[in-house]
């Protein structure tokens, strides 16, 4: 592998990884609060379509991002309402959200298929830093969504492990009854984190339609929402590890795309399988890990909390 090729793949890895990183970080928050959100794929699609539509309408990338976030949050609100207030099964509700998201976006987005988004996320080269060999190209010539994720990961890690609201977040996911007794409103916080998680899935989706692809295609997430859910398992609900997983995924994805572009003799179908097989591998390997056994799943994940039924 030539150095130039390696740099190209690394650049692709950051971009591809970022589209997963945002939804995955959002899922970390939702799952830490005890709500499994399998609707990420649908929420990403909502973000991708609405970001794109508003972008086409207004040519304003920031309005487009906002629309993407709001659209994804609407779907997240439905998920929150059904699972938190009505205590519906979280797995099936999440699936419903994904089905709804893909159906709705395919239905509404039909007339928009194909055109390129007019206003794209700008690439900003950070003065000074961007001239550093390798790192300048890979890390400091990126777009705002990437930079924001660089800040978001340490911020989230600090929030989860070092602040009182972060402690409460962990508490409602581990032992909601205890948190409730301590005066923490379990239901309200779960709503909050599911909504934030949805918003971040929306960012990931818009990143696809406004930067990565950049256009609207039916089902364009191609399983990235599910991959994000998988990465959360791999990342043991830890922002840093999730970030590492997202970039690792991005690297595999960038690598196979590069190989295709270079006209590899391996059929593209097999190369396209690589990212999915990679996720199966990392989820399988990490499930048996010591760390997983020690930290494990948030105890109350998937279980609705209802004060009257407290045990």
């Amino acid at each position: 592998m030539t150095p130039e090729l390696f740099v190209t793949i690394c650049v692709a890895a950051i971009v591809s990884g970022t589209s997963i990183l945002w939804p995955a970080l959002g899922e970390v928050l939702a799952e830490r609060s005890g709500v499994l959100n399998l609707g990420v794929e649908g929420m990403m699609l909502m973000g991708a379509l609405f970001g794109y539509v508003v972008d086409v309408d207004t040519s304003n990338i920031w309005l487009a991002m906002l629309a993407a976030i709001l659209a994804a949050m609407v779907l997240a609100l439905i998920h929150a309402f059904l699972t938190i207030s009505l205590r519906a099964n979280q797995i099936v509700t999440g699936l419903a959200a994904t089905l709804f998201g893909s159906g709705f976006t395919a239905f509404v987005g039909k007339p928009f298929v194909g055109a390129v988004a007019p206003a794209l996320l700008p690439r900003i080269e950070i003065p000074g830093l961007s001239t550093i060999p390798f790192f300048g190209q890979v890390l400091f010539s990126e777009d705002p969504v990437v930079y924001a994720s660089f800040i978001l990961v340490p911020l989230m890690a600090y929030f989860i492990y070092r602040t009182r609201p972060g402690l409460n977040l962990r508490a409602i996911g581990e032992s909601p009854a205890t948190a409730d007794a301590m005066g923490v409103s379990v239901q309200a916080r779960r709503y909050l984190y599911v909504l934030i998680g949805g918003a971040m899935a929306g960012v990931g989706g818009a990143y696809l339609s406004l930067f990565y692809t950049p256009t609207w295609i039916e089902g364009m997430t191609a399983g990235r929402g599910w991959i994000a859910v998988g990465l959360v398992v791999f990342g043991v609900w830890d922002p840093w590890r999730v970030m590492a997983g997202a970039y690792l995924f991005g690297f595999v994805d960038g690598f196979q795309l590069r190989l295709q572009a270079l006209g590899s003799t391996i059929p593209s179908f097999f190369l396209n399988m690589l990212p999915y097989l990679f996720i199966i591998l990392v989820v399988a390997v990490s499930s048996g890990e010591k760390l997983q056994r020690k930290l494990g799943v948030p105890t109350a994940l998937g279980k609705p909390y209802w004060r009257e039924e407290r045990t």
């Binding site: 159906g103 239905f107 039909k110 039916e218 199966i280 048996g288």
Partner: protein, 374 residues
């Protein structure tokens, strides 16, 4: 404190009829909400529903198409229900469906070359479809049973892999040389296809889900395995202490559900499309999950619900003929599931009481529809 006039009381019992009524109500509410959404997005809801209804129920041809679409749904959903009963979330029906179709096509290609007669070829194709679907599900099942690996993720990822694999075949080695470069396998000979039963696409594969449902009912109510399935579904802890081998049951459930999806794939290529391609499924694997859930994991209910969803899938084709995107069928499925989850759960949990009749003392712990809230 005075009792309020209208209160919500916990339900502790729920008859089968009432449950069916609630589901029907939720479906109707979902369709009404869907109409609102269609109208808001600038299409004509009356036109849409007329097309769906007419395309699935208006006459013999429509009924035949609707039933044909419900065959893969019912077949996959019956298997999915087995897995869901032991709380294994096999979301890989779509991939297992494709792998079953792939294996059946492989046998067909070999068998057609050897000029096998239909009575030999068809059973061989069914068997290969079952085995391949089961194998495709066995890997995530094994990971889940022995290493605790989340099966939702693994089964889902394998869907994409399976579809890519089938696409590789039909764009490459299995492409029909006489097919004008379309990504299809060669057309199946008559000996590899199910006979059509009626006008339209209804074919003899209709008996597959019906037969499977009867076997399923028998297994559930009359066999030890069925008993174990029920115990694990109701209370995994009790099942564990009763000495039921959970790992074995997880593997079995995955094999059966994967195998059923594989058979569905075989039935689809052999009964409807007669070629292998990357487009043999209209998201049947995902829709079947809803069907299994709405059917409350009960075989006979699944058969009924699969017809409703067959109508929606088929309705998707019908509305696309009148200028409304086909995805409407898919959208309506999502909405209906939302309403069943929300309204269905709410109504089956509480009843509206006007004026209080008795003191509010919970005598027994509230119970929702069995195993639907875990």
């Amino acid at each position: 404190m005075r009792a309020p006039l209208i209160t919500l009381e916990r339900r502790t019992d729920l008859s089968l009829g009432r449950r069916a009524g609630i589901l029907a109500l939720a479906v109707v509410a979902g369709l009404l909400f869907g109409a609102l959404l269609i109208w808001l997005t600038g299409y004509d809801p009356v036109k849409a529903y007329t097309a769906i209804f007419g395309g699935s129920f208006g006459g013999g041809y429509a009924l035949s198409q609707m039933l044909a679409a419900s065959i893969p749904l019912a077949t996959i959903a019956l298997g999915t229900a087995v897995a869901f009963r032991v709380r294994i979330w096999n979301i890989g029906g779509e991939g297992q469906f494709y792998m079953g179709a792939f294996a059946a096509t492989g046998v067909e290609l070999a068998g057609a070359a050897g000029r096998w007669p239909g009575f030999l070829l068809i059973p061989a194709m069914i068997a290969s479809g079952f085995v391949m679907g089961a194998l495709w599900a066995a890997f995530p099942g094994w990971l889940r049973a022995y290493f605790g690996v989340n099966e939702i993720i693994t089964t889902l990822m394998l869907n994409y892999v399976a579809i890519l694999w089938v696409n590789y075949l039909v764009y490459g080695p299995w492409k029909d040389p006489a097919g004008h470069n379309f990504p299809f396998s060669p057309r199946f000979p008559g000996s590899a296809t199910f006979p059509r039963l009626w006008e339209g696409q209804l074919h003899a594969g209709l008996f597959v889900p019906i037969l499977a449902a009867i076997v399923f009912v028998f297994v559930l109510s009359r066999t030890q395995w069925g008993y174990e399935l029920r115990v694990i579904g109701e209370n995994p802890t009790a099942a564990h202490y009763a000495g039921i081998n959970i790992r074995r049951n997880i593997m079995l459930a995955m094999l059966v559900s994967g195998g059923m999806a594989g058979i569905a794939g075989m039935v689809q290529v052999s009964g409807v499309v007669h070629v292998l391609s990357g487009q043999i499924s209209t998201n049947y694997g995902y829709t079947a999950i809803i069907v299994a859930w709405l059917g409350q994991l009960h075989p006979m209910a699944i058969l009924v619900v699969s017809m409703l969803f067959g109508a929606l899938v088929n309705g998707g084709f019908a509305v696309s003929q009148v200028g409304i995107p086909q995805a409407l069928g898919f959208l309506l499925q999502g909405i209906i599931l939302f309403f069943v989850l929300g309204m269905g759960d709410l109504l089956s949990r509480y009843r509206v009481v006007v004026g209080r009749r008795e003191p509010l003392v919970a005598s027994t712990p509230p119970e929702a529809a069995p195993s639907m809230t875990a």
